[in-house]
């Protein structure tokens, strides 16, 4: 693990870099780039819903747009930024390592995701357009090429891009797992790790277990599409006037495989956001997180339970009510450890010395989002109520709060917080606070109103709500939701301008501008190649020594490397 020589050329420094910090930033920038597409797609959806009489897009195109919005946002924005981006940047810095365990594999994992992104974007311009079977890609719609225009080449490219995404994720996961477990610096025991690292560890393990079943589903769907197999295609399907030649497959098999992956996936992306919130709140409340060990155990229980509740996405698929009852009980059970995490976030502020800096604002709003969105989850996780709510806007509102708001607030909290570590400058604070309010208010507005739409019976993935009487009660909400969406997009434009301006012209930062006790702040800002100078830091404490002046210094915290009193 000797420190490799510092790279010299532009290509080795910025393109094919082996440095985890550069790779982490490459992931974050790629996520921002894909976010432009994900956001544009969202605006097309919202415009179509608010003003359906204009027919902004064709109905089949609308299905492509909701599919690609979901796919791009979940995998290529949120997962890329949170798990790969922050994971890569923070893990070696927080465990006191010079780099990841396998820097070359790390670089390859990024350059595997790039073709995945390109294939997804390419699918928009091929004949038939992008995939149109939902981000869940259910057969038979996704399996029959002529079923809908997007099910042609677009769906094939989608599947190939997802296969590359899975391979890249696993490659990255190998690095995160081994670096956290094996490359911790001297004195850094597992229970002296920051909670954010625990969340990256649990998220990684979940990923290694959950992604392979999705790969199996992708492979079988590709075979059904291109080699005429019938894994998912039943007998007796009729397309146009002809009976298709498939025999004996079942679309339910795909649903089981997809959701066996799909439910852990949402925890894979939410847990790191919660971890970032713990770090930010500790620093800006000037006190350790409440219930550190309990939070560790809680996230392990959340992860374990998350692998046995996938059926709550399939309550209306015709399952036996007894099976439905099991999945209901297990799903509601997850509320307990997850609520422990949320309550610990709240309690971490008790008797704290709160500093309402921009990262803290995002972290606090994240707690609120967990509570608000999580409440809806109880009704969706219970079969009896989900029979009504399934495929309504209640679901859409719920998951947008959980994997849209919680995750994005975590990403923003992380960016504002670690920006000095990344670039040696501060991210503009005034614009930051404006970004905060113009993000949180529209997001809450949009996604809480969607819950009302769902309660009123509005179904999701519908092109023109005015076609159906059952949307009459709540379709007037579409216009205010869309207006809020425009405000949200405007806020993100402010953020991007602020971000790129601050990278070059922001005020220069001190090494530890937030007075944080974490190990990553003992490295320079920006962190250099190799992270620390000649000697790796030696850890003497956990990363949350705040509020104690007894060491005689003028500061209210002791960094992780400061020796304990004899």
């Amino acid at each position: 693990m000797t420190n490799s020589h510092e790279p010299q050329s532009f290509v080795s420094k910025y393109i094919f870099s082996l440095d985890h910090k550069v790779i982490g930033l490459q992931y974050i920038f790629t996520a921002m780039f894909m976010g432009l597409f994900g956001g544009a797609l969202a605006m097309i959806i919202r415009s179509q819903l608010a003003w359906p009489e204009h027919g902004i897009v064709k109905p089949e195109t609308y299905l492509s747009i909701v599919t690609m919005h979901g796919t791009i946002m979940v995998f290529f924005v949120v997962s890329l930024a949170l798990v790969s981006g922050f994971g890569n940047f923070l893990i070696p810095l927080m465990v006191g390592a010079r780099d990841m365990a396998y820097p070359l594999l790390n670089m390859l994992s990024y350059w595997t995701i790039v073709p995945a992104c390109l294939l997804m974007l390419l699918s928009f311009v091929v004949e038939g357009g992008a995939a149109a079977s939902g981000w869940t890609a259910y057969p038979p719609l996704s399996a029959i090429a002529s079923a809908v225009p997007g099910s042609g080449m677009g769906q094939t490219l989608w599947l190939l891009a997802m296969a590359l995404f899975i391979v890249s994720s696993i490659m990255g996961g190998l690095n995160y797992l081994t670096t956290i477990v094996n490359l911790r610096t001297k004195g850094l025991t597992m229970f002296r790790l920051p909670l954010a690292i625990w969340t990256f560890l649990v998220s990684t393990i979940l990923g290694l277990l959950a992604f392979p079943p999705l790969m199996a589903a992708v492979i079988m769907l590709l075979l059904d599409r291109h080699l005429g197999t019938s894994f998912f295609l039943p007998a007796g399907m009729i397309l146009g006037n002809e009976v298709l030649p498939y025999e004996g497959g079942t679309p339910l098999l795909f649903q089981h495989l997809f959701w066996f992956f799909g439910h852990p996936e949402v925890y894979i992306i939410v847990l790191p956001a919660v971890g970032i919130a713990f770090e930010v709140i500790a620093t800006f409340a000037r006190r350790p997180p409440f219930g550190y060990k309990t939070s560790v155990y809680a996230m392990l229980v959340v992860a374990a339970l998350s692998m046995i509740v996938w059926g709550h996405h399939m309550f209306v698929s015709g399952m036996s009510p007894y099976v439905g009852e099991y999945f209901s009980v297990a799903s509601v059970f997850i509320t307990l450890p997850f609520a422990v995490l949320g309550l610990n976030l709240v309690a971490s502020q008790w008797q704290g010395n709160i500093r309402l800096e921009t990262p803290m604002l995002f972290a606090l709003a994240l707690i609120s989002a967990i509570g608000t969105g999580g409440l809806g989850g109880l009704f969706l996780g219970t079969a009896t109520s989900d029979v009504y709510f399934h495929d309504t806007y209640f679901v859409v509102g719920h998951f947008h709060i959980m994997i849209g708001m919680v995750t994005f607030l975590g990403i923003f909290a992380g960016i504002y917080y670690w920006f000095p570590k990344m670039f040696g400058r501060m991210l503009g604070d005034r614009l930051g606070k404006i970004h905060f309010w113009l993000t949180v208010i529209p997001m809450f507005t949009m996604f809480v109103l969607m819950h009302y739409q769902g309660l009123g019976g509005s179904l999701r993935r519908i092109y023109d709500p005015t076609n159906y009487d059952f949307t009459a009660a709540t379709r007037t909400l579409n216009s205010p939701i869309t207006h809020a969406a425009f405000l949200l997009v405007f806020a993100q434009a402010i953020f991007l301008l602020n971000f790129f301006y601050s990278v070059f012209k922001g005020p220069k930062a001190k090494q530890n501008p937030w007075d944080s006790a974490g190990l990553e702040w003992t490295a320079a800002s920006p962190a250099p190649h190799g992270n620390w100078g000649e000697h790796l830091p030696e850890v003497q404490r956990w990363p949350y020594e705040y509020g104690d002046f007894s060491d005689g210094s003028e500061t209210d915290f002791q960094p992780q490397t400061q020796p304990t009193a004899q």
Binding site: A101, Y102, L177, P212, L223, T229, T250
Partner: protein, 167 residues
């Protein structure tokens, strides 16, 4: 330096465990698919051609040679393992050709769809194992872990062929 090697060994061991976990989860998913698909009325098991059993024997022999390679100073047994591994892959392709000549293609029956697919996915892991063995020719301290990976790939093949014949 010794400390670094010990750490690197631990890192590599954990990596191997993680890679094996993903392989297990992948074939577990295929098993679930197999068990569910089997319940349909069109399920008809085809008999496994002899060549698959010969290939199984080749793979078992390669596990023996990789174990011998682990203890040997030079690369002779390792080279033989690589040759046997490549022979296995070629044998699988020939077995596929045999099936195709008999008119049994990928979509012909669900059972043979699984046969073709599981062979292909497994062969992908064999090729990965061969690449690892090539790497281990030079990096002798990795031979132990590469041989464990090889044994697991072998075990997965035994599992696949047992599933196709017995389940």
């Amino acid at each position: 330096m010794q400390n670094q090697t010990a750490t690197q060994n631990k890192v590599n061991e954990l990596t191997l465990l993680a890679v094996l976990s993903t392989m297990v989860m992948l074939f577990a998913a295929f098993t679930a698919a197999y068990l569910i698909r089997k319940t349909s009325s069109d399920w008809q098991r085809i008999s496994i051609p002899t060549l698959f059993w010969i290939n199984t024997g080749i793979l078992l022999a390669s596990s023996v040679t990789v174990e011998l390679a682990r203890k040997s100073a030079n690369a002779r047994w390792l080279n033989l393992t690589i040759v046997l591994g490549l022979a296995f892959v070629v044998g699988q392709l020939l077995a596929w050709k045999g099936l195709a000549d008999a008119g049994i293609f990928v979509p012909s029956h669900p059972h043979c769809s699984f046969l073709y697919m599981l062979c292909a996915v497994h062969a992908f892991y064999v090729l990965g194992g061969i690449a690892a063995l090539f790497y281990a020719i030079k990096h002798t301290r990795l031979r132990g872990l590469c041989s464990i990976f090889w044994h697991c790939v072998d075990a997965v093949w035994l599992y696949v062929i047992a599933m196709l014949t017995l389940l």
